[in-house]
Subunit: 508 residues, 2 copies
């Protein structure tokens, strides 16, 4: 096992008390944007927030490392934000961007299982998992709920690496024992073998982080078609025995849903499969959940399980458009997942962006469906004229427009929503006293509109032409607009530093 | 007017003959990927390709600047590619990422017209247009078909800046004279005023680039609802008189289509409006074209006009899903546009990526519609089993899957397709003798899978952990797969250098 590098003190070590100054942004409730300008946040030796003071001008300069840095670099504003990725396959990372024209079932066989099977090599696991952790941290992923593979040593290595790099993580040893629907080269020999291997990964996690302060095991049946009923039962029992979270996939693809119906004829639905096997609990995270019936949504709600919305994967391997608003309306917990490598990016910002795009496409598709069916009226010419004069706008005027997520809602899903899915909302997601300090510092580029005469300056205005900060602020944006520009245009170049539980785990 | 900077010799100056060495990639026909490994491309003093030699090992080192650079930096491979953005509003650039939950008609009034109106300030135009040109060049946009504003001085400045920075461009002075459907603060006083202003921008282009070798005017009625019939007629005549290309918007949004029907009751369709006013020619680029009827598509084809597919804008301001395959099947020219700032990115790579996503969402939506209507059969369990065993795959098995674009097809639209839309296919789009040398050099990151024992190396394998090249090659990818990873994961950090007509116009 590689030792922690000097720049990464062991996570069990205690840090100095630190006062951070700057602008702290969070989305404490769905649709709200809380902006604490000129604020100070005091963090104790254990990484816990002890005070939050708003609007403290002139205090930060001396104590706040980050406001100092901000001045040095002449950057616009530093804002902070934390977010958990509720669904990511660490082992699929080298395939990021490769999926051809496939859909779920052939994608698994063609792209995914061969790569996952290669994690019998521990050096490959070391190489790939180190890169996954460092790159997702660099993108601001403070917490990740990982699917590993079915290899116990590689899965244990992932736990160890997360712990040493300081990423908050759930570590899932993937279980899949179905003799027909898995390939012979990559499956558990039996339900018992899968359970025994899972127990070994639980024991390893307990040995490195007994308090589960940073790293925790998560029970991970791959998805119903790849598991026997016996295995599903035993995994449900294991989750209960060890008081552990559960993650799996559900209703990602219409063919998959049909298949589950045929494989589990005694169950009334895909959701019912998990419910009957003790796998639908308040600690369960259901990946995708595109094709659930209204009845199934009620079952999910009744069991208190959460949904991991994986919009990039859903769009690009043609799984479908997840009706996120219906889950939010029911009060079901919803977080975002990158779903690497069904999704082609490990960035939660890309996931938030695609969640926004998908909700708008859904609004368009459903709006036209409703118009075709005569359920939503065509706008009369007079109304369109009014709209163009901004006397009215079509925002939120009808049912289909309600399907659109706002930027603030997408950020809520990426932060507090994900924290709730992972039952971490008492620890992370906002900047509140008693929570742990998980944050990323975002910096944007300043390209103020050149309203003075700058014609003598070679056409370059105030900025350096080579500045490649992807988020360009032109000087007139509200905080809401700055966040929108960050969500749409930002990438890892905007992530100046990342902290988890008070420890700085990434710096550009 | 600012002088050209020393690093940018005047585009009329002649360069030295240059031999470029490396891997040259293009998509000469729809769906094909042509990879010339170890090739040399000879470019003459006028920027014209004089020879292309394949597979010339051992020759490049001394003469090829870029293969040398590649070796110095230890980068994986250098590939080159050129592309034209067929639809971009230069003046809307500062709003990139800002559109709220709006759709077309209220978006125009709320976000767009106020910003465009501010280009009465020439210093603002200088500032914004310089940034647009340098940033789109940095993203590899070798050619851009720009919408400016209705201000003559600012539009002329855009022409001058494109010429000096060396970006190949069509420059459109936006025309909009309708007294009701435009705001009083931002519209042409009359059809005559609009035509006269357009003539002034044509004269300016002719004065700086008489041969239209780099910069050319393009006749630009904003879209039918913002123009009187008189203006449309006069613009059609102007295009004919000066032998100029035309660009406009069509059928972007269902409400807009309805409005056009009411405003032009004598025309049989939106397409017919442009056809009757002399604006539908083989040199016309129609932006969006989401909601055209089958009959209208035939009219577009008969007139030889091209379609600029703007998928990012279409998805994010809820315009709809453009049925690109139907245009390709008809043999209609299709290029890609970023449509800044309805689209939130000026990157053609993002446009290509979203084109892929949209085609996949469309396949899913149409596939389910067909299943609901009983037109496409549900797969029997046996077939799903076969699919999971890779005995068959569902790729291209049914009509809805045909809607998916492949990576190669998306790259064709971004390069040759766009060149054809702009009637530049004899000059750009591929690396062929007689064409001009427009190219970008792409470099990716090397993260070869660590199959040796690297456990002693601090878990960092072969790569530098701080390397943030967004395209990670793990050593086993085919050229096709490398291009896929670039399309999905790449950004401007991968663009090492850009050339237009043999002149280096950007370098990282």
């Amino acid at each position: 096992m590689s030792p922690p590098s000097p720049s990464h003190p062991h996570p069990n070590s205690r840090f100095k008390k630190t006062i951070y100054t700057g602008t702290f942004i969070s989305t404490p409730t769905l649709g709200a944007l809380e902006v604490l300008e000129n604020a100070t946040v005091g963090v104790d030796e254990g990484g816990v927030i002890r005070f939050v003071e708003r609007d403290v001008r002139g205090l930060g300069g001396e104590k706040g490392l980050d406001s100092r840095k901000h001045e040095e670099k002449g950057l616009k504003e530093a804002v902070t934000f934390s977010n958990p990725d509720t669904h990511i396959h660490a082992s699929q990372y080298p395939n990021t961007g490769l999926f051809g024209n496939s859909t779920l079932l052939d994608w698994l066989q063609k792209y995914t299982f061969p790569l996952e099977a290669s994690f019998s090599s521990l050096s490959r696991a070391q190489h790939v998992y180190t890169r996954v952790i460092t790159r997702t941290l660099a993108h601001g992923t403070t917490t990740a709920s990982y699917y590993a593979t079915l290899h116990t040593p590689a899965t244990n290595l992932l736990s160890t690496l997360c712990f040493h790099h300081g990423q908050r993580a759930k570590i899932g040893r993937v279980c899949m024992d179905h003799p027909t629907f898995n390939m012979s080269y990559y499956r558990d020999e039996s339900a018992e073998a899968a359970v025994s291997a899972t127990q070994a990964t639980i024991a390893h996690c307990n040995s490195i982080d007994p308090e589960r302060g940073l790293v925790e095991p998560i029970i991970t049946p791959r998805f119903a078609p790849s598991c026997t009923s016996a295995l599903l039962h035993q995994l449900g029992a294991l989750a209960k025995e060890y008081d552990l979270p559960i993650q799996t996939h559900i209703a990602e693809n219409p063919d998959e849903v049909k298949l589950v119906g045929e494989l589990f004829p005694d169950c009334t639905s895909y959701t019912d499969v998990y419910a009957r096997h003790g796998l639908l609990t308040p600690r369960t995270v259901l990946g995708h959940a595109i094709w659930l019936s209204a009845e199934e949504k009620e079952v999910v709600k009744a069991h208190g399980a959460g949904v991991s919305h994986c919009p990039v994967s859903n769009s690009y391997i043609s799984s479908g458009l997840c009706p996120v608003r219906s889950y939010l309306d029911l009060g079901i917990k919803v977080g975002l997942g990158t779903d690497v490598s069904g999704g082609w990016s490990g960035s939660m910002l890309v996931a938030a962006r695609e969640a926004l795009g998908v909700s708008r496409v859904l609004a368009s598709v459903e709006g036209n469906k409703a118009k075709d069916a005569g359920e939503e009226a065509e706008k009369p010419k007079e109304e369109v004229e009014k709209e163009m004069k901004l006397e009215t706008t079509d925002e939120d005027k009808n049912e289909s427009n309600r399907l659109k997520l706002s930027v603030e809602e997408a950020l809520y899903l990426a932060t507090v929503g994900g924290a709730k899915c992972l039952n971490l909302e008492s620890k992370i997601g906002t900047f509140e006293v008693g929570k742990e300090f998980d944050a990323q510092m975002i910096v944007c580029g300043d390209f103020s509109l050149g309203d003075e005469d700058e014609l003598g300056h070679g056409g370059k205005g105030k900025f350096e032409v080579r500045d490649d900060n992807p988020v360009e602020l032109w000087g007139q944006e509200s905080w809401q607009e700055r966040m929108a520009k960050w969500v749409f245009c930002g990438d890892d170049r905007n992530v100046e530093a990342v902290w988890v539980r008070g420890r700085k785990v990434h710096e550009r």
